[in-house]
Symmetry: C2
DNA sequence: ATCGCTTATCGTCGATTAACGATAAATGAA
DNA sequence: TTCATTTATCGTTAATCGACGATAAGCGAT
């Protein structure tokens, strides 16, 4: 079996930051929607959530800051999509953290 | 109309709540320590962190509220350990979320 | 140039977070 | 009982979050 690799503090900060992005039910919802739909406008997301447009916009900003989401202006609207690079870095890190087993003493 | 969630909103709230517990580097560090050491006193955790005892105690409280950690009083000290039930519920949920691929349209 | 649509930002409010020192509570030991 | 140790809690301060309405900014179409 492998020993648990030591985690760099960069990775800890990254993990914490992404988790912060996921630390609200509305943002979980938004991320899941973007994972399946590939690209959504803010307005479309607002339709699917019981929140005001400004609130959704704010959640999208937090998701962007966490690195999970990117937004591209297209004409009068903005298309949001998941940043797969962040997901692909995050997934193995959180997986490794959760898979740690106690040392046999 | 709201998105039709393939995920129960209970699960979304659970995911968000656990992520909230992980949304700070110190708590990532603490959880990691508890995953490997199985059981730690607050004082032992304080030794490994650049934070005051009261701050570490506060982080432990947040981790308990997120369900990730349990604490048991043993004499004058408290032993903290990971709640594996929470981890075992969280792991497949976050994994499933991150594994979603865009629908072929 | 103006209108209409879409989205970001501003301002506000109450609640929460994060950090610390100080202190209280609980327990084991002397 | 008294003392030392350990941890939780209180009080404080600054910062951030979460929600909203209102408004500004950008763009396409008329």
């Amino acid at each position: 079996m492998f020993f648990n690799p030591p985690m760099h503090s960069d990775d800890e900060a990254f993990l914490a930051n992404v988790c912060k992005g996921l630390a609200h039910p509305a943002r979980i919802r938004i991320l899941r929607q973007l994972m399946t739909e590939h690209s959504c406008t803010c307005g479309h997301l607002v339709e699917g959530l019981p929140l005001a447009q400004s609130t959704v916009s704010q959640h999208l900003k937090i998701l962007k800051e966490s690195g999970l989401v990117r937004g591209e202006v297209e004409g009068p609207r903005t298309c949001y999509c998941v940043d797969r690079e962040t997901v692909n870095r995050f997934a193995p890190l959180i997986r490794a953290l959760l898979a740690i087993t106690p040392e046999a003493s």
